[in-house]
Amino acid sequence: MTVIADQPAERELRPPAQGARPAPGPAADEGLARRLKALACTAPLHDLDNRKVNLAGEYGGYAMAEVGLAAIDLVTLHMDFDTGADREIVLARLLPRVAAQSPDRPGAEHQRVARWVLESLINVGSVDRGFRAVYGTFDADGGYVRRDYDFKLIEEVPGPDGGVYLRTTDEAVNVLVGALDTDVTSAQIAAEVKLEVLIRRGRLADAQLAAEQARYRTVQYAETLRRVLDATRRNVRAVDWMQAVPDLIDEALDHIADRYRHENAILTNIRRARDEAEEPSHKRQAAELVDIVKDCIRRHTQLQARLLEAGPLFRAEQDRQAFAAPTARSGIDLYGHLLAPVLRLPIEQAIRPTDAFFAHGAGLRTPTAVRVADLVDLLLTPPVEREHLGAELPDPDLVATPDDSRFSEAQLEAALDLLDLPPDAPRRLSGLLAEARRQDPELPYLVALLAVHAASPPVGTAYRQGEERLLFAVDDGATLADPEFGGADLIVGSALLDAVGMAADRKDAR
C-alpha cells in the first residue's frame, strides 16, 4: 500500500494540484481499521469450529459457528433493559438446534455442546472474559503501529436479585446481528438495525419486544430527568445546566421524535399483519401490540411534558438558592482532583497514585506474632471439631394432617386418562361426563372442572415451556343436558403444539 509514503504529506497544507493522488489517506486507513475490527468480531465464531477437534469426543457433527450465532441471537432476544437474558433459558432454547444437528447422540452431549459454545463466547477462561485482536494502523507520523482491540460478544452483568445475567454487547449486535460494515461500537445503530430487520421480516413478537425495550428507554430518560431535577432542587450548582442537562433534554426529545417514526412503522406493519392474518392468535397478537404501542406513545407524551417543565423549575430553583449562604469546603475533591485525572493517565503512570491511595487508605493490620512455645502447643493440639452445623435441632413433633383433598390421586389419574383424547377426535363434555359417571360417581365433578379450566388454555405458557400437547375446550353454543351440571356442552380436545418446530422457525426466520 502507498499509505506509508502518503501519510506525512497528508498533514501538511495540501496543494490542490496533488488532489488526484491514488492513495486513500488516513480516512481509508480508519475505514480499514473499522472493518478489521468488525472482522475480528467474527473470529470467535470461526474459532469454535476450529477448536471443536480439541474436545474429548466426537464433536465433528456439530456446526459450532451456527450454534454460536444462534446463542447470540437468543441472548439478544431475551435480554431486557434492567437485567439480561437468563443463562438457563438461553441454554434450554439452544438445545433443540444442537439436538437437530446430531439427533442420535445422547442428550447430555447436546447440553455439553450448548454450554461449551456459550462459555466460549463469554470466553470464561480469560481474566477479562473477553477477546483481543491485533490490528495495524499508521500513526500521524506515518509509522506502523500494532494495536490491541479488546471486545466482548456476550458479557455477564449483575441482576437486581444478585444473580448473573447475559447481555450481548453492541459489537455482537452490530456485527453478528446487523451487518459487517458498521461502526461497531454504536448502540443507537445496533438498536435501529435490530428493529428494522424485525419489522422487515414481519416478526411481530420481536417487534413487540423491541417496542417494549424502546418504552423502557423512555422510562429511563424520565428517571434520569427526575434525578437531575431532584438534584437541582437540592443544589442547582451540582447539575450542569450549561451543557449536560440541555444535551439530555435534546437527546430525549430526539428519542421521542425518533420513536414516533418507528412506532408508526410498527403500526403500519401490524395493520397489514392483522388484515392478512387468518388465525385468531395472530390477530390477538397484533391487537396486543397495538396496546403496547399506545402505551409507548402515552409514555413519550408524558416524558415530553416533563421535559417542558424542566426549564421553569431550574429558573425557580436558581432564584431560590442564589441567596443561600456558602458552606465550608475541604480542599480535596476526590472525583474531580483524583479519580478523573487518574483514569485519563496511561496505566504505567496511573498506578502510582492508586498505589499511594491504597497504601495510605486501606487501613492497618496487626501482624500475627507467634512464639515457638505457642507454636508447638498449637501444632500438637488435635483439631477442634468444627461446629459449622450449629446447635442440634429438636425433633419436631409431627401431627398427621387429615387428607382433606376432595379427589384422590387415583381419581385425578382416571380423569386425566379420560381427557387424554387423540388430537384428531375431540369429544362433547356430555359424553365425557357420562363415561366418568359410569366409573365413579365423584369423577364427573373433576372432569367438569378440568374441562372448564381448559376453556381458556395458557397457550403461550405451554409453548414457552416446550409442552407438546395442550387440552382445550370450546363453546359452540350447544347446551349441556346433564342431571348434575348445567351450562354449555363444551367440545373438549387436545391440540398438538409443535414446540421444537416453532423454536427452529423462529431462528431460521432471522
Binding site: 503501529v145 494495536r147 448473573v164 434520569t224 480535596i332 497504601a359
Partner: protein, 291 residues
Amino acid sequence: MTTPHDASWPAAEAEPAPAALTPADVADAARLVSFGLQAKLLPARDAEYAELVRRHREDPAFARLADAVATGLNLVVLEVSARAGMALAAAEESVFAVRMGDYSRRAASETTDRFLHGLAHLAVAAMAFPRPEDLADEGYLGRITVNGVDAFVRQACRRLEEQAELTGDNTDPSSDAPGLEAAWRVWARRSTTGATKDARRLSGSTIGITGKAVAFLVDSGFLQKASDDAGGTYRTTARYQLQVRDLAGSAAMAELIDLGVVPVTDGSATLLPADHSDELVADAGLPFHSL
C-alpha cells in the same frame, strides 16, 4: 478534639514533666494505643477505652505519652476523640502497613490487577464522599453500594471513551507498549461480573475487586455493612473520613502532582464535572443503556 501533629513534637519528651509519669501511666498509654489498633472497637462500646480517650483529652502529659508510644510503633495518630476513638494509621515501612502483595496475590505480579485494586479503593472513597464538603463535614455519613461503585467508575470510563471518540483519538493501545494503555480502558474492558461454579463472586471481575476492597475496609473499621442490597450496601465511619481526608487523598495527590498532573483547584470544586455525574450514576441505574 484533633491532636495536631508536627515533626517537632518528640522534643516535648525532653521537657520537664509537671507530674512524674509512672510505669502505670506508660502501661495505660500503651493500652490506649492497643485499643486504637482494634479498628472496629469504639469508645462508646468499651468503658475503659472511653476513659482512656477522656484522659488523653484532659491530661496533656498523658496525651504526649500515648502519642509517643504510637510513634514508636511507627503509627500516625490521626485523631483521638469519642467518635473515632484513637484513629491510627500505619506509617510507611511500619509492620502494621498492608502491602499489595499480601492483599491480593494476583496483584503482586500483574500490573493491571494492582491498578484495578488500587482504583477500587479510590473509587469507593470518591463514591463515599462525592462532594468536597462531605470530607470536611464531621457529621457526614457516606453510603455506598458495591454495584454502585462499579457503575460509577464505568460511567466515568464511558465519558472518557466518548470524549476520545469526539476528538477522533484511537484509544486501542499499541501491542508493543501495553503500559501506555489509558487507565480507564483497563477497568472498562474487565468483565463486570461472572458466573462461577460455586456461586461466589468472580474475584477478577470489577464487582469482585470492588467487593474485596469493601470487605477489607470493613475489617479496617472504615465501613459498616448496612444491607445486602445492590451487591452490599455500606456506611462510612468517622475513621474512614479521617483516613481519606488527612492521609490517603493527599498522598495520592502528591503522586499525581509529581507526575505533572495538576488538577485545577479554585476552591469551589463543586463546579467540576464530578458532581453531576454522581447524580446521574447514583445507584447503578445507568441512563442510555444500549439494547
